[in-house]
């Protein structure tokens, strides 16, 4: 893969790629390598930001191609149709995200919004695991992944966090830090 293609990929991740470059990328002879590069960057990016790597093992090129050509596959018909009609100047990542979401079956349709809470809430877990922690290892306790919680469980969990943050702001209150914990607990999804 040459530098120009690599740069297009990079620009796609930053929401800066133009349509022509994307087409060039999709017509590259070695799609496997393009995909690999995309997935690697996506993983790095996700680790640094929201934690999820829905791109893993997923080929979005077909859907992207479909989007570029203005066709819509059966699966993403509804969503793409909406984005196409609302504006002709679509933005690449929006389409890609929808495509990825549909392919993985992650948050299809309305679920994209409603599960967002647990999804991002789970992110700190991934970040935490990336850091070796002897204390956890020594304790040999079961890790509960936050993204595994259902709606009701997450609700309960955030309530615990909130109440604790409130105790914190009073008991060991550090002014603004206390407030920040309260807001983070209530808003942290």
């Amino acid at each position: 893969m040459d530098d120009r293609l690599r740069e297009t990929l990079s620009a796609m991740m930053d929401d800066e790629a133009d349509e022509l470059s994307v087409r060039r990328l999709l017509s590259h002879h070695d799609q496997a390598r393009v995909r690999d590069q995309w997935q690697r960057w996506q993983q790095v990016r996700d680790l640094m930001h929201s934690g999820h790597t829905p791109a893993e093992g997923v080929d979005v090129s077909a859907n992207v191609r479909a989007a570029l050509d203005g066709r819509s596959g059966a699966a993403h018909h509804r969503v793409l149709a909406r984005s196409a009609s609302s504006s002709s100047r679509w933005r690449w990542p929006a389409v890609a995200m929808v495509a990825v979401a549909l392919v993985v079956g992650f948050g299809a349709g309305a679920g994209w919004d409603s599960r967002e809470g647990s999804a991002t809430a789970g992110a700190p877990e991934i970040a935490a695991q990336a850091v070796p922690d002897s204390e956890v290892a020594a304790a040999q306790v079961r890790e509960v992944t936050l993204q595994g919680l259902d709606e009701e469980q997450w609700e309960q969990m955030s309530q615990y966090l909130l109440e604790h943050a409130q105790h914190n702001s009073v008991g060991a209150g550090r002014g603004a830090v206390g407030y920040a914990r309260v807001v983070s607990a209530g808003n942290g999804y």
Binding site: A127, V141, Y160, N168, A176
Partner: protein, 344 residues
């Protein structure tokens, strides 16, 4: 241009790793010096009053795990009255305005926030002031040096835990006022697990009244902190109705804490860190058991059987998972009826 993009991506990946490496190197390198102990204590004594009595405005960020929030704050101390206004800068809009003992909280209607619980209630810094002093028994305090935060000269203080039951802390206090401008919660490895930091700050007594007026449209909830005094002052021991804690790390004392409607919760604090213990009948709650972490915050859930009833013990706090587990497993239920009566 092309190479810039690539190298900036590389940099973005490398920087956190580099930071961690630097931190890991820096921590063991700190030399304990008896001579500065007096100086450290002087700074720590200023911390609590400075939180209330400094007037300032600015924006701070708070991060734990990879959640990051930023808030705009204006804080004024005039004629013995504290006025404060906080505006959330990301996520849902909302604000908290405090004038003395009156707190008004305006938040958008949607979202999962149970609004009544977001309002911090109870005497704010009073509890903190009285608890700060013995901190040096559980943490070794050292002056690390000088730094600059949000344009202000600051002194950096390391509070390293003396045992494995708590995390270490770093505090940055502004030089002239003692205002806390930055803080870290760190694991024994030196990894930063939670951080708070002003990104812009202006320390000034000249903050006009209109900066403390509510501007967000939305549901408004107000609460008078003084009205809660009766509850806040109630003995925490009385609130441990029907259960007791078999073990807790030295130095953690029951803290004055508001009640948020739920009966069976007690907060403990060693002056810097705090954890809350919730005990309630398992009932319809079907929670997974085990540990979860968000930054420095550990949530440990434990099932407890007493008689024929099952209870859910939850420990939440800025403490290591192993500590949370030990605390949770030490809870003993003495009177299932008392818990059933107040628990829900």
């Amino acid at each position: 241009m092309r190479m810039n993009r690539l190298s900036s991506r590389l940099r973005a990946t490398a920087i956190p790793a580099l930071l961690l490496a630097v931190l890991a190197l820096a921590v063991p390198g700190l030399a304990a010096a008896d001579s500065d102990r007096g100086e450290v204590n002087q700074w720590l004594e200023r911390l609590a009053p400075a939180l209330n009595m400094t007037s300032y405005r600015g924006v701070f960020v708070y991060a734990r795990g990879d959640q990051v929030h930023s808030m705009q704050i204006a804080h004024r101390y005039r004629d013995g009255v504290v006025e404060e206004r906080l505006v959330m800068q990301d996520g849902g809009s909302g604000e908290i305005v405090r004038r003395g003992v009156n707190v008004v909280c305006v938040l958008p209607d949607r979202g999962r926030i149970r609004l009544d619980q977001v309002i911090p209630s109870g005497p704010f810094a009073e509890a903190f002031t009285s608890q700060l002093m013995p901190v040096s028994r559980w943490y070794s305090a050292e002056m690390v040096g000088e730094d600059r935060v949000a344009g202000y000269e600051a002194v950096e203080i390391a509070l390293r835990s003396r045992d494995e039951y708590r995390y270490s802390h770093r505090l940055w206090l502004e030089r002239t006022t003692g205002l806390l401008v930055k803080s870290h919660v760190r694991a024994s490895s030196g990894d930063v697990m939670e951080q708070f930091q002003f990104t812009s700050l202006e320390i000034t007594d000249d903050i006009p009244d209109e900066e403390f007026e509510i501007r967000t449209q939305g549901r408004e909830i107000s609460r008078n902190l003084a009205a809660d005094d009766g509850l806040a002052e109630a003995s925490p021991v009385a609130r441990m109705n029907g259960w007791e804690l078999g073990w807790r790390p030295d130095g953690f004392a029951p803290a004055a804490a508001p009640r948020a409607g739920r009966g069976q919760v007690v907060a403990f604090s060693d002056g810097l860190a705090a954890f809350s213990v919730f005990v309630e009948p398992a009932g319809r709650l079907n929670m997974p058991k085990g540990v979860s972490r968000i930054g420095a915050t550990t949530i440990y859930m434990h099932a407890l059987e007493s008689g024929e009833r099952e209870f859910l013990v939850t420990v939440v706090g800025e403490i290591p998972p192993a500590t949370a587990r030990k605390v949770a497993e030490s809870v003993r239920v003495q009177d299932t009826l008392a818990l059933e009566g107040n628990g829900s």
